[in-house]
Symmetry: D2
Subunit: 341 residues, 4 copies
């Protein structure tokens, strides 16, 4: 932590900062520049010094406080240079292979989810997605089938052998999901729901952690640190677009942010081109781009009949176009030295 004093800071102002640092067990280095005095805090490494930084920034004549260390540790690549592998049932995420999760946005009926599961398996997906609980902007929209949807997912798993990834929106939904799904997804709207992060961390199940649509890469990594600090390191990160002024796409796909995150964390990272674009015509190009940029996998919406979907029809692929895309993904994966799972 570096404390920058304002230009007119007196000896007593500097002494006050040093005293505060000593109170928390820090040593210090002082550097008297021509226009500014800068104080470096030394010692007692801790992942979190934000509270002290906040307090120091309120002392008289302190201009600003610059943190030096990263605010996360357990999920950091600094401590685990190799990308970790997370297992979801028989599927692996984070090894050299590209793992694809596919399926409908929401579970709507037995017929729909079983058909979708068979279709995505045949095309090469290694896991099935499907929402039983749906976070919808409006209270009047279809909110998912709930427990009944979970049963249908379990049935699809039995039929196809595909492990199931499904979104959890509240702690009380966890119990009913443990036996029926294989990985719990924390959605973008709940990435800052710290209570939920702690709860899913304690299940020991693999967690798919989507990036909040207004979360910085640093905040996304700290959300993962919440899960990790609850004792669970089986975390798959998922980039799904951030909110910007651009309205041509539903969100702005931040592949450079994903690549930057990969440098910071050893956790596997996949990408969701369906939710980010909201437009089936853009899903293909963005899926290929994500793989070329280094994604460890993809999450793609596929619906047997997109024009009848109860949610997010405009971004769902048909079975036929998903199959074509998987062939292209295979080729691009090979071009960057990887293969399909």
């Amino acid at each position: 932590m570096i404390i920058v004093m304002t230009s007119g800071a007196a000896e007593e102002d500097i002494a006050r900062v040093i005293q505060r640092l000593e109170q928390d067990g820090y040593g210090h280095h002082i550097s008297h520049g021509v226009e500014r005095t800068v104080i470096g805090a030394v010692g007692a490494p801790e992942a979190e010094k934000e509270q002290l930084a906040d307090q120091l920034s309120r002392l008289p004549m302190v201009e600003r406080v610059v943190p030096i260390l990263k605010p996360y540790k357990l999920v950091s690549r600094e401590y685990h240079p190799e990308t970790g592998v997370v297992k979801v049932g028989p599927a692996h995420f984070g090894d050299e292979k590209i793992a694809v999760i596919a399926g409908p946005c929401a579970v709507e009926s037995e017929e729909q989810v079983l058909e979708a599961a068979q279709v995505v398996k045949a095309a090469g997906a290694v896991a099935l997605r499907g929402g039983a609980y749906k976070p919808r902007t409006s209270p009047y929209s279809f909110q998912g089938l709930g427990e009944e949807g979970l049963d249908l997912l379990a049935k699809a798993r039995e039929l196809t052998g595909l492990p199931v990834v499904s979104e959890v929106m509240a702690p009380r939904q966890i119990e009913g999901m443990i036996d029926r799904v294989d990985a719990l997804q924390v959605g973008a709207r709940n990435m800052h729901n710290y209570d939920l992060l702690r709860e899913v961390g304690q299940t020991g199940m693999p967690i798919l952690l989507k990036r909040g649509f207004a979360a910085t890469v640093q905040e996304w990594l700290r959300a993962a640190e919440y899960v990790a600090a609850s004792g669970n390191l089986d975390i798959i990160m998922c980039e799904r677009g951030v909110r910007t002024f651009e309205t041509e796409t539903r969100f702005t796909f931040d592949l450079a942010g994903m690549a930057a995150a990969k440098q910071e964390t050893y956790l596997p990272i996949i990408a969701d081109p369906s939710h980010t674009t909201g437009d089936y015509r853009l899903v293909g190009p963005m899926a290929l781009a994500a793989v070329a940029a280094g994604a460890d996998g993809l999450m793609i919406e596929v619906h047997p009949h997109p024009d009848q979907a109860l949610s997010d029809g405009p971004q769902s692929l048909t079975p036929a176009s998903f199959k074509r895309l998987m062939d292209q993904v295979r080729t691009v994966a090979a071009a960057v030295g990887r293969e399909m799972a």
Copy 2:
């Protein structure tokens, strides 16, 4: 709902759209323009047609679907022209008076919260704020005193008579809060936590609903509609800044968004200049600006000793500066034809 066809749409493409509309019980009007055919859906008013709109947008040769009606109803000013009044204990929000909620960011100790409560009451605040559960970006930051903090808030209420507003982060915290606080705050990070919105809606307690920092005004109003649809119309809206590229302030205070929201909803709206700026030097100017812009109240952080605060010290006012600010707020309120509560 208006359906715009692409320029090459054939009769059969148009027929397909009309058939789909009829399937859901809508009539239609067709307008053949020089370059585009436009179809208007007529009939069966519903607050929510998003699902159909999504499906229509997947039909061949449909360029885009434009919604006409607003996706909220219960909280709309269209149906309740007068701003509603929400009572929090003895305090009123939404009448002609400016109501100020003040207190520390987090409850830290009995001494701190009792001192703060007395100070803010003396200066003219009508309610006490204080967090017992704190949403923190890092798992290693101070997370609040929990139940113990709630007890201290109840004690402060007893001492001063001020009703208490405190943040709820999870449904299971609600039970312990019912008797000890007077209004439940849903924070910016949980505005999209629909499960929580429904739960707090069912308590019947007054709800303070902060705007998500990446939520549009429309989404904020729909979040209020979630609470309202659970049977609770005692909602106070709170603008607290949105996330932008600007880093000079913690968030960007969207007073124009607040003023736009006031045109759309009859719910009272207050503003939080402390969290939005993150800088005590800007809290004063922004508090005055909010009142001039039409806010029905303010939420301001006051800490007896900001340089010792366990969270958000840099944005907390000292008792002395809060008192000065309240005097200025009184003057500006009068200038726009209002008075202090």
Copy 3:
């Protein structure tokens, strides 16, 4: 400048940084922390060290480089504690009075501009605005009357005595403007047009510098530094909204950014609630908010007949509503200890 080394940095990596600093004439301080070594650059104060910072950040094992000094000097409040006064003809900006510039978005006809000039003068405006050159998003929109428009502005000035502020979009337009307008406005779309900034700086005329809609406060201040470095310190800053995800208003009015800028620069700052909101119903509340937040003046669009305006009709006030607003501005100005110019 502070150079943070990565955790595995060796002595030779540190030596390389020090050698590079010495090459540019800097001394250094080294602070060996538990996890990071931090090097402070000392000496030779310069407003601009970005190039060196960029180069240092490319050296091996350098994690990041943190600048300490602000990248502007001439416009900084650090060097001129008192807000400066800029004169535009007989009008003053930056003293204790609120100065209002008003008039139509674009000059459309003699009748329109003369009527508007008389109306805004009668209501208390101290300067007339009106665009002869209009930056329009589409090449097919009305682009302004050009030289003819300048003549009409000069005529309006003659009639009313109001000094004229008008936008310059290109260096070659300057010559024709020198005699016919009293201040040159650099619009939001040209804030990063450094060639134009230098050119207007050399005229010696007062400059109204609008904030770019994607410019940080720091970039806005550096744009002012461009003008100042060309020898011209008669600069009035103008906040006019930034671009965000919110679509309810045309731009997001950043009054907190304006207040933050006032702490950094001694230049007078005014606010434009018309362009930022794009909605005449929000102009009033935002004008009052700006004055309450500390603006030194306002820039407001007034059109004799907004529903016939050739540009930006939706945000223009009618003469009657402008008059009412000016009365309210007067009251709010008084509430914050100021009066109308």
Copy 4:
């Protein structure tokens, strides 16, 4: 154009809108819904009706006006289904091949630019980039060598045969560039500089039009329409990142926006991973992602000695890493059915 009336609109309000439409030569269709009346404007197709739309939105009881037609025409894929080919000297952009422009950010010396030109040619680039005029945020940064830099670029062209692309910041620079460079680049900061757009359009030279960092895809296309409306259709579009809240990368690379733009326009589009990320470690992944997403080419910064660069060193590749990247680009291009130019 669709005009939506507010719920209480009377017959006379509707009549007023119709009268206004007729005044401009439009017919109309009226659709009386249950809650809203909607009026469609019919006839007289024009690319630009914004002025009328603005005026209509000011009429009493008009809720909003929804445009139906796209505001650009000459650059639209609707009128030219096939992607166009733009020639820059011997290089082609927009055919099936991936064309790479590479070179230093700024021209610094004869030695540097000649070395860079040879290096990038050897690795497979088809054009040389290099700035003689540099838009710098600070007036104290290196501003480019100007005319001398242009001479050096011409010398590099003579030596290697590579055509030269260089940025123009002001109309008066054009004359000196016509003979010494082969394509004029309009930078992100000048995308809204309409005067410059018109001027470069009139030269008849190929134009490289970078997307403004706060420009929507629609605004970018309209900027191209400005150039096209001046008679010049030889336009290469270049995505280079947009500004968001994320600070991990300099800008946020909007590849989905690029893909969306490709659906709208027939102009070739390339991508610049160097400026968008500002970090040499991310240039490679993003270059590959851009090609996988359908970019027609790339623009990449290469410097013989990045740690000595006078501008943007942190994002420049070394000759060796550029060579490696080109090999990877070749492989990914093949995977999506294209080859290197």
